[in-house]
Symmetry: C2
């Protein structure tokens, strides 16, 4: 180990090789405090060249590497399992000038989403993906996990934002293609393959990102509905009639109750409803009339229209504080699934059924990005077999045409789910691609694929 430590110090400088147990500790926990295994050491290169040097050293030493972005992952993909080098991209923080005419910007892997937003918005442009962890989540981590968030139905997930990429292969080779154009059929699409590969194929160091218009004129409405189905129908109407549609978030009675209680928010309606949808439209000109006119064609039972920025913030508070309020219930099962529209109400009914068969202390709350069918569900107080329940509900998800992992990725925690989601021939293709780019298997072992038995 000291041999490798010395070689890494020669690449990045001794102060960026963290070997002491207490200093390393920060790199062995995720943001929720979950502890991974003990890393061999953590290393913080300051440039693409240094990342290449680190990977060359590790590859020569046959030591596994765990790439790490903003540490906001929820699937354990950036936690060491034991004995790896944690490669933190936190020092790669350069961001290029906003290319206004082309609506592009180049950013290094360690740039946070919030910094990217601050950088581009003064130019009238915005980044197409937004999510709650914006202050910590980084460009590199968001690409590696193909982050989704609230605007995916409008602008696509992270994969759709990456127009060019620079990454380092396991053996230290730098692969670079930073062309920024939309139509680019000159061979295989490397950015698309690396997006969502969770650090198992290469370490992303830089990306050329497309930008979208930043719309200051916003209209926000919270709609109450008599059923989840009515929410799904409402989505169809909005997608057809409101080109400026920017967010369509759904949540259930229990999630609203929890956030009102835990964050001391006033109830938005005099009585509870089975489902609520928070709708936002954003355009150059005020989209409120367009939005309200479209809502006339839906089964909205009641609604609150935000009159100004403060009102919009009040409506968004219900949604933004909800994950924390749900987290306080310490759910023993959590789902991050994506369902076809036809499957959303089916899945919600299945959860109700679970609760009816459980003891009185059991509860569940859910919210979701309705625009793309991504539901987050927490279930707590379960007496029954948690693993069996997870398996049953995820197999239901697959049978409905959905995905067992929507935006949180697979990491180490969901590796056992992949065979429910993908056929053996499909998994074999994944393994062939992995072997092609990382024949030694040193990049993030245990992520996406089962860990090899320890020697």
């Amino acid at each position: 180990m000291t041999g490798l430590g010395d070689r890494l110090a020669a690449v990045v400088g001794a102060e960026h090789v963290l070997a002491d147990e207490d200093v390393r500790a920060a790199y062995e926990h995720d943001w929720k405090g979950t502890r991974g295994g003990a890393a061999l050491l953590a290393v913080r290169p300051g440039s693409t060249g240094e990342v290449a040097g680190v990977l060359r050293c590790c590859s020569e030493a046959g030591v596994a590497v765990v790439p790490r972005g903003g540490n906001t992952g929820l699937a354990g993909g950036a936690l060491p399992r034991g004995g790896e080098v944690v490669l933190s991209l936190e020092r790669l923080r350069a961001v290029g000038p906003v290319e206004v005419a082309d609506a592009l910007v180049e950013a290094e892997a360690g740039v946070t989403l919030a910094r990217l937003q601050e950088h581009v918005r003064p130019e009238g442009l915005d980044f197409g993906v937004d999510l709650g962890a914006r202050d910590a989540a980084t460009v590199g981590g968001m690409i590696a996990t193909n982050a989704g968030g609230i605007h995916a139905f409008r602008h696509g997930t992270m994969r759709a934002q990456v127009r060019g990429i620079e990454a380092v292969l396991a053996d230290g080779t730098v692969v670079r293609r930073l062309t920024g154009v939309l139509k680019d059929n000159a061979g295989y699409d490397l950015p698309g393959l690396l997006a969502g590969s969770e650090g198992t194929l290469a370490v992303v160091t830089r990306a050329r990102l497309r930008l979208v218009p930043f719309h200051r004129a916003r209209a926000t409405v919270l709609v109450a509905l008599a059923s989840v189905d009515a929410g799904v129908r409402l989505l169809g109407v909005l997608l057809a009639r409101v080109p400026a549609l920017d967010a369509v978030e759904i949540f259930g009675t229990r999630a609203l109750e929890l956030v009102c209680a835990s964050a001391c928010l006033p109830r938005p309606f005099p009585r509870p409803y089975p489902a609520y949808v928070l709708v936002e439209a954003a355009a150059h000109d005020d989209p409120l009339d367009q939005l309200v006119a479209a809502l006339d064609h839906t089964d909205a039972v009641d609604s609150v229209v935000a009159a100004d920025a403060a009102g919009r913030e009040r409506l968004w508070a219900y949604r933004e504080l909800m994950p924390e309020a749900m987290g306080r219930q310490a759910p023993s099962v959590h789902f991050d699934i994506c369902l076809p529209r036809s499957g959303i109400a089916v899945f919600e009914k299945a959860i109700q059924q679970v609760l009816r068969s459980e003891a009185a202390g059991a509860g569940a709350a859910w919210l979701g990005h309705l625009g793309d069918g991504n539901l987050h569900v927490g279930i707590w107080g379960l007496a029954g077999d948690r693993a069996a329940l997870e398996r049953r509900l995820l197999q239901l998800t697959v049978s409905l045409g959905g995905s067992v992992s929507a935006e949180h990725g697979v990491g180490t925690r969901k590796v056992h789910m992949l065979p429910w989601a993908r056929e053996p021939a499909d998994l074999a293709v994944m393994q062939a691609l992995k072997r092609a780019l990382d024949p030694q298997g040193i990049l993030n072992p245990g992520v996406l694929f089962p860990a090899a038995p320890s020697s």
Copy 2:
């Protein structure tokens, strides 16, 4: 050979193995009449299982396979080079029910774009990619070439439409993942990798495709501009102010002259202008006011607004008949490039400069999908070194941050351009991926990668 022919006949039926020279001939020419090499035979499987059987036979015999869709390619990617089996997907024509709530449809590889449009439009949905060759181009070929067309800036290229895929590997293994959801982070993205792989990694047999709203309310305006730069600025204004923006096509003086002459169309304006932009917006409610209001913020010098469907058709005729009018000049060099917005006027000036240095008979015409920077340029009557000119203008394209192949792909005709566009390490990654999925190298040899020297 007869051994293989018999084995293939056992898989697909003797009537679908075409070995006679005159019957095979149709599979040895592209739609422009260009002849490829002599195929060993052509085979027309009728199902995914039969495609798998064909590939198993060819793989065992070590015979190369050229997959073929609607034969509308422009880069020679579906033409035999000599001695291959041409695998036509024309009999895979099943299309599933339109899943209206989920805005999805499943289609086999041989379904034409026009058929897909006819199938989904009565349900109020549309396919996100549209292009002139719609009557012949097929789903499989459009995926293999990552087709672009006129709506790419709004809905993305073909890659963005493919939510699930079924394909057959070189050895006959069927790989299937037909999940239809937008957020699906359960491992590597197979549809994205196969899109644009031009039949070199697998043969696409079926896809699950996302649909977009079909908007009947359309507004179309032809705008005259004092410069190409003014056209690029106009695009920026439209993207910011017209969420319903559906098409933004640009063309130059000469292209308009050619189409007016060859198709006997009246000139749209009393005098010529350096650039014209055809703009269309499509929404649920009439978007004309929105569009006209946005045009007030541009440098439009003159404009023609279509008053009704017939007027829209008249305006589109200029654009749709233009490729044929340009083709009649028999250009000796043709570019299909994609440029950042900042590069469009630069490239156009470079063409003018070429013409100034050429003899009097030289001419050039260009049109483009301005929304995504995709230009099609034909140059004719050249006295100078055609290959040198091509190389110079494509290296300019790369230096401007553009792509040497926008929507036509690489095929066999542009293989020599790839080293201008991609670095050696990047090309090595492509080759590693190719070897991983097609270790024998039997899928479309000579496409994307230089053909191995004949033995």
